[in-house]
Symmetry: C2
Subunit: 234 residues, 2 copies
Amino acid sequence: MKDRMTAAARMTGHTQRGQCAKRMSILDAAADVFCREGFAGASIDEIAAVACVSRQTIYNHYREKETLFIAVVEDVMNRANTMLFSMLSTFPDSADNLEDELTAFVVRLNKNCICNHDGKFLRKLVQTEGERYPHLFESWRQHGPGKLTTALSALLARLAHKGALVIDDFDVAARQFVALGNADLQMTVLFGGVPTDEELERAARNAVRTFLKAYGGPGAEKTDPQLQLAAVSS
Amino acid sequence: MKDRMTAAARMTGHTQRGQCAKRMSILDAAADVFCREGFAGASIDEIAAVACVSRQTIYNHYREKETLFIAVVEDVMNRANTMLFSMLSTFPDSADNLEDELTAFVVRLNKNCICNHDGKFLRKLVQTEGERYPHLFESWRQHGPGKLTTALSALLARLAHKGALVIDDFDVAARQFVALGNADLQMTVLFGGVPTDEELERAARNAVRTFLKAYGGPGAEKTDPQLQLAAVSS
DNA sequence: GACGTTTTAGACAATGGCGTCTAGTTTTAC
DNA sequence: GTAAAACTAGACGCCATTGTCTAAAACGTC
C-alpha cells in the first residue's frame, strides 16, 4: 500500500509546478485507487500514500471524499473527451483502401479510448456507481458513447453516399461497428489487461472484414480464397 | 434500507421449508446488496434486513462476509450456468428459416443470460472484484462466455457445413455473433435497466440481419429494397 | 533573508461496520 | 409434549475510516 506511486506522483518529488502538480498527483492517485477499490472501498489514506501527499493536503483541495470522487470523474471524462475528439478528427476521409483505413481507425479507437486506463475507469465506474450518481452516468453516456456513435454514424453516411458502403440504418451500423471492434477484446478488456498491438491489429482486422462483408459496397468484393473453400466444402 | 425485500424473502414470512428457505433468502438478499453496493460497500446488517433475517443467522450459515460473498457468487453462477445450458439446448438445428430461428435465439439469450439479474450481477462483479478474486474470474470466464462461444462456434460450424453459412473462422464469428447481439443493448444493459420485449426483438433482428449479410450462404440473399435504394443513390 | 502560504505528520473524536456473545423465543423432530 | 436445534434481538469489543485540528517544516516570492 505504501510503495505504489503513479507516474505523475513520481514526477512531483520536488515541486514541478507546486499546487497544480499536487492536484494532478492527487487526481491520478485517486483515479487509480477508486478504480481498484470502488468508492466505498477506497480509503483517503491510501490515496494520499499513492499520491505521496499528506491526507490533510487532500482535504485541503477537496472538501470531502465525495468531492474528490466527483473531481476525479470529471477529470477523467475531460481527458477521455479530448482523446475522443482527437480520434474523431482522424476519421478516414477517402474511400480508397477503405479496409486498411478503417482497420487503423479501429486500432486507434480501441487503444486510446476503450482499452486504456481512462476507458477502463469509466466503464467500471458507470457500472458500479452509475445508479448512485445518475447525472454522472448521463454525462458519460452523452459525451462518450453517444458522441462516438453519432460521429461514426455521420462518417458511415458519408462513405455510403460515396458508394463505398451500402447501409440502411446508419445508427445501427455505427453501433455494430463499435461492437464488432470490441468483439475479440471483451475478455482481455474485462480482465483489466491491456491487449498487445498484435491482438489489437488482429481484432480490428476481423471486425472490419466482417463489417465490410455486411456493408461493403459493390466495389469491395475482395474475393477471399478461404471463403470460396468453405463454400465449396458444404 | 429497511423496506426492501426480495421475492424469496417475501415468500419466507413463515417457514416454507425452514433452513433451506432462509439460506435462499439470505443468498438472494446478499446478491442484491452486493450487486448494488459492491463487496466493500455492502453491510451485513443491510443484507440481514433485506433478507428479513437476523444478523446472527447469517453468521450462523456463513462464517464471515467473504464466505457469504463466495457462496453468493457460486449460487448465481450455478443458476446462470443452468440457464445457459438450457439455452444451448434450444439451439436451432434446422437451416430453413435460419434468420427467424437465429433471431429468436438471440432474443432468448439476451433476455435470459445477458439482461437478467444474474447476468448483470456477474458482469458487474467480474469487473469490480475480478482482480481481487482471480480464480472466480477464471471460473466465470470458462463457464460463462467461454462455454457460450464454444457452443456457438460449434453451431456455426454445423450450419456452415450444411451450406447455410460461409465462415472462415468459427471462433471469431461466434464472438462477433454475440457482440452484434448486444450492440443495440449496451446502453440499456449498462444502465441496469431491463430492455422491453420490443427492444430485444429489434436488437436481435438487426444483429442477425447483419450477421447473415456477412456470413450468409449463397441461398440467403433476401434482396432488400432499402439496400438497392441506398446503393443506387450513390 | 523574511514573510505568507502550503504542506506535513500525527493526534483526535466520531462513526460505522464486523464478528462474538448471551439470553430468550420460535420452530422442528421425535 | 418435550428436547434439540435454529432463530432473534441486542449489547459488546475491536478496528478501520472519515474529517478536524495543531504545531512544525518546507516552499515561493519579494
